[in-house]
């Protein structure tokens, strides 16, 4: 598993596609289970988490489920935890869950990068540093 995260609109998907070539992308915004399970890349993981929470599902085991389907899966996710704690309980659960899911994803991943301004910074790998 690999995970790429960063702020919104930082060119994360472009960065990953450029690096990995043309792979099958499932969009967390609207993909169905079948698309999700056959994907090489899950983009907008935060929106998948948001959809699950909206229907009252837990995301505690999301990473384990995805890993079981495809241990090579590449996850792309917005960082959403930097603002004010939301008023709505559902929104609070969402933000917290994105953080917890990313922690689980990082634990399973052999490569983790954070993207800023379209540039990747490797946070987990044999050698840590800015990547080309």
């Amino acid at each position: 598993m690999e995970v790429y995260f960063g702020g919104a609109f930082q060119g994360k998907l472009d960065y990953v596609l450029k690096k990995k070539g043309n792979l099958r992308v499932a969009d967390g915004k609207d993909c169905d289970e079948k698309q999700l399970q056959s994907a090489d890349i899950v983009n907008h993981l935060h929106l998948l988490i948001q959809r699950r929470i909206a229907v009252g599902e837990s995301t505690d085991t999301l990473i384990e489920e995805l890993y079981a389907v495809n241990p090579q899966m590449i996850l792309i996710c917005d960082e959403v935890g930097s603002g004010i704690v939301p008023l709505e309980r559902k929104d609070r659960i969402y933000r917290e869950s994105v953080g917890r899911v990313l922690c689980a994803a990082v634990a399973k991943s052999d490569r983790v990068e954070r993207i800023l301004c379209g540039i990747g910074q490797c946070l987990k790998q044999e050698s840590v540093g800015i990547t080309k």
């Binding site: 960063g6 702020g7 919104a8 609109f9 930082q10 060119g11 935060h46 917005d78 960082e79 959403v80 935890g81 930097s82 603002g83 004010i84 969402y94 933000r95 994105v98 800023l116 301004c117 379209g118 540039i119 910074q121 800015i130």
Partner: protein
């Protein structure tokens, strides 16, 4: 050199950008292109704080709220337009979040042209240091107009980072280089 400095609100990114400019300029002419319009008491105070920070550092301020490629039209700069590369000025442009807001929401704005404006401005500079803003990680959903603005600023940051020699994120006054390095700037200091 083209240098992009980013960071969150209150991170010390302005101060760091000023420091870089002063080093790169040495005794040469420095311009500060201010993009923030003084709205209300809080805006005025923010501007006063930035003024005080720059005080004594030898910047000439140009207020340019839109179309930054035209910033030098306002000053008598025969010297700027025809200067040899090493005689061109060192410029600090602050900041892209205000500039993009002015281009998106003020009359006569051309949000599609901000990237090319910046590149055109860079051609008139020996070194251009641009300050932008990290506004992308609060996880909030906004209305379409605001989302369009955030999308544009994110894209602009990414495009400029691609052109830049150095990209640094300032984290509470500590510069973290995402591209290039401080050593690269040191190599470009005037003799």
């Amino acid at each position: 050199m083209l240098i992009l400095i980013t960071g969150t609100s209150g991170s010390g990114k302005s101060e760091y950008a000023e420091k870089i400019c002063c080093e790169l300029a040495g005794s040469a002419k420095k311009y500060y292109i201010a993009t923030m319009q003084p709205y209300g008491a809080e805006g005025a105070q923010r501007i006063r704080r930035h003024h005080a920070l720059r005080q004594g550092k030898g910047f000439e301020t140009i207020e340019q709220y839109q179309n930054v490629s035209k910033a030098f039209d306002k000053v008598q700069t025969e010297a700027v337009s025809h200067a040899a590369q090493n005689e061109k000025p060192v410029v600090l442009l602050e900041c892209l979040s205000n500039l993009m807001a002015n281009e998106c929401f003020e009359e006569g704005g051309t949000p599609d042209a901000v990237f090319s404006d910046c590149i055109q401005l860079y051609r008139q500079c020996r070194h251009l240091v641009i300050v932008t803003n990290e506004i992308f990680s609060d996880g909030c959903l906004y209305d379409n107009t605001t989302t369009d603005y955030i999308t544009r600023l994110g894209r602009l940051n990414t495009q400029l980072a691609q052109e830049a020699d150095c990209v640094a994120e300032v984290v509470y006054s500590i510069p973290v280089y995402w591209k290039g390095a401080y050593e690269l700037i040191q190599e470009n200091l005037p003799l």
